[in-house]
Amino acid sequence: MPVAYFLVLSALLFSIGVYGVLARQHAVLVLLSVELMLNAANINLVAFSAMLGEAGVPGQVFALFVIAVAAAEVGVGLAIVILIYRNRRSVDIDEMSLMKW
């Protein structure tokens, strides 16, 4: 399969992620949208790595690194979300407006 197919798929996923970050109000859904964007970049890496054949091993290794980093990021992110939920009983990011401008 041509590499372009995967690039289109990844571009679509990335755009959906960007839309989710901008449009969603629930903090966890925003976090999930960020995960979509990370995985879109991962698809790019793996597709390019397949395109390069045997020389493409670094790309796959990099994708694994990204998965690990994403897991760490979710860990910290959900901890912050829980902290906020305990105090406010809501994780709607539109309500987080103690500070403006």
């Binding site: 990335f14 992620g17 970050v21 903090a27 925003v30 976090l31 960020v34 964007m37 990370l38 879109a40 970049a41 991962n42 790019n44 890496l45 597709a47 390019f48 790595s49 395109m51 390069l52 020389a55 493409g56 670094p58 790309g59 990099f62 690194f65 990204v66 980093v69 760490a72 990021e73 910290v76 992110g77 901890a79 912050i80 979300v81 902290l83 906020i84 105090n87 406010r88 990011i93 987080m96 103690l98 500070m99 401008w101």
Partner: protein, 500 residues
């Protein structure tokens, strides 16, 4: 098929190893000692770890090589940034000790996370592979997200941690997409190219020499994404949305550390990428970076004028300062590189001093951080008022302070490279900026203290005073006698080169 083990030399990352070991040691020691007590061991151990780290960073002085399987560049540029970062962290540790102790939230995790963050920032400075840049960026970002929300019971603290985290994670995906495109364009994420013979020894620098001129489209797009991703971290407009909120809600020592060290680390990666690796593509990235620089200087200065909260005001001022550093990057000559580093080093010291004064005066739980709370400060605490005056004048760029010298150096480099109009924009932005710094001074000196206001300086330790004193001393001394540090920056800032 034999297993190909890379040559392991630890000298290149010895400063980072010292910090990580120190951080783990602090966490373990605290678990053994347990609750209660004065907790003095925390800041002593952090100081020792940072001291060892500085010593090891100085050891790497003068080397010019790639290590750890071409992942780490050990060169003068990295050494300068590492030493500066460790000095910032030392000041932050001392200041945090007073601050956390007063607020009763002194935990080993704070110091551990701070040291982890510094280790990540140091890796950022010497990263010679885009994978390394991403990992280093995430290492220090994850630590900082937690540090920003360290005042767990404060609603503003939680809110700023949330905003910083969401926007930070959002921005790092752009960086990652940029890296993926670089990988697609040249088949490697290395910056310099492998020193091992054969085996796809291609890096960005070598690819730019060997590929025909028309084949860079993907690389140019990737460069744009990399600039966006790193631009978030250094708080460049239009990627600055998180800055005022994160700076306002974070504990003041952390805010100072972010303004000084995060900016330095982000710019270190940007300078290495743009001025060393992607220098042949400067015709493509310059228009983008010039646009960002102009927006950053103007928007940062103008929005700071209307701020009521001093921490928020300094956040917008830090945005404007990022714009001034960009003028040095745009120049992309030797003076621009060393000038940017000099600017970042001196700005960091000054801004840490300013946030140290705010940490002391803000009182428990940071109740007093609006400009109005500093009314008549001079009549109550002339020394602190004097120190804050000095820092604000230096940030404004008044002669005889180090801020003036820094601006002189980066603007000089931009003029040398033929960007005089950019310097004019920069000087106009500084003129606007001078207005809000003076506004604070007027409030401190010319207005009466509020009736029945709490005493401004209750319960802070001698360490915080020491930090303020050191920063003030550096601001004046370097402002009057700057040549040693500039010479140091000029001699320091050589990048790795295969020939040298």
């Amino acid at each position: 098929m034999g297993l190909n083990t890379p040559e392991i030399e630890l000298l290149g990352i010895a400063p980072e190893i010292a910090l990580v070991v120190g951080a783990l040691f602090i966490l373990i020691v605290d678990a053994i000692i347990g609750e209660g007590g004065n907790k003095w061991h925390l800041w002593i151990l952090s100081t020792i770890a940072l001291g060892v780290s500085i010593f090891l960073a100085v050891q790497a002085w003068g080397s010019n090589e790639l290590q750890m399987g071409d992942m780490i560049a050990v060169d003068g540029f990295a050494a300068f940034v590492k030493i500066t970062l460790a000095v910032f962290a030392l000041l932050t540790v001392w200041l945090s000790r007073s601050y956390l102790h007063r607020d009763g939230i002194e935990e080993s995790e704070f110091y551990g996370l701070l040291l982890f963050a510094v280790a990540g920032m140091m890796l950022m400075a010497s990263a010679a592979d885009l994978i390394m840049v991403f990992l280093a960026l995430e290492t220090f970002s994850l630590a900082l997200y937690v540090l920003v929300g360290f005042r767990r019971t404060s609603l503003t603290g939680q809110e700023s941690a949330m905003k910083y985290f969401l926007l930070g994670a959002f921005s790092s995906t752009f960086l990652l997409l940029g890296i993926a495109f670089v990988y697609g364009a040249i088949g490697s994420t290395q910056m310099y190219g492998s020193s091992a013979a054969g085996a796809g020894a291609q890096g960005i620098a070598t690819a730019l020499v060997s590929l025909p001129a028309g084949e860079f489209t993907l690389l140019v797009i990737a460069t744009g994404l990399l600039v966006v991703g790193l631009g978030f971290k250094v708080a460049a407009v239009p990627f600055h949305m998180w800055t005022p909120d994160a700076y306002q809600g974070a504990p003041s020592p952390v805010t100072g550390f972010m303004a000084a060290a995060t900016k330095l680390a982000g710019f270190a990666a940007l300078i290495r990428l743009l001025d060393a690796i992607l220098f042949p593509l400067r015709g493509d990235w310059r228009p983008l970076v010039i646009g960002i620089a102009v927006l950053t200087m103007v928007v940062g200065s103008v929005l700071a004028v209307v701020q009521e909260d001093l921490k928020r005001l300094l956040a917008y001022s830090s945005i404007a300062h990022a714009g001034f550093v960009f003028t040095g990057i745009i120049a992309s000559n030797d003076r621009g590189v060393s000038g940017s580093l000099f600017y970042l080093a001196t700005y960091g010291i000054t801004v840490l001093g300013a946030f140290a004064v705010i940490a002391v005066l803000g009182g428990r739980d940071e109740r007093r951080t609006t400009v109005d709370d500093f009314r008549g400060l001079f009549y109550e605490s002339p020394l602190l008022a004097g120190a804050l005056t000095l820092f604000l004048l230096s940030l404004a760029g008044v002669p005889a302070t180090v801020g003036f010298v820094g601006k002189l150096v980066v603007f000089g480099a931009a003029v040398e490279a033929g960007y005089s109009w950019l310097v004019v924009v920069g000087v106009l932005a500084s003129a606007v900026a001078a207005f809000f710094y003076l506004k604070v001074l007027v409030v401190m000196y010319m207005q009466e203290r509020q009736e029945g206001a709490e005493p401004a300086t209750s319960g802070y330790g001698g360490l915080a005073t020491g930090v303020i004193g050191l920063a003030a001393l550096a601001t004046v001394a370097l402002g009057l006698y700057w040549s040693p540090l500039i010479d140091f920056a000029e001699r320091a800032t050589f990048f790795f080169s295969a020939g040298g």
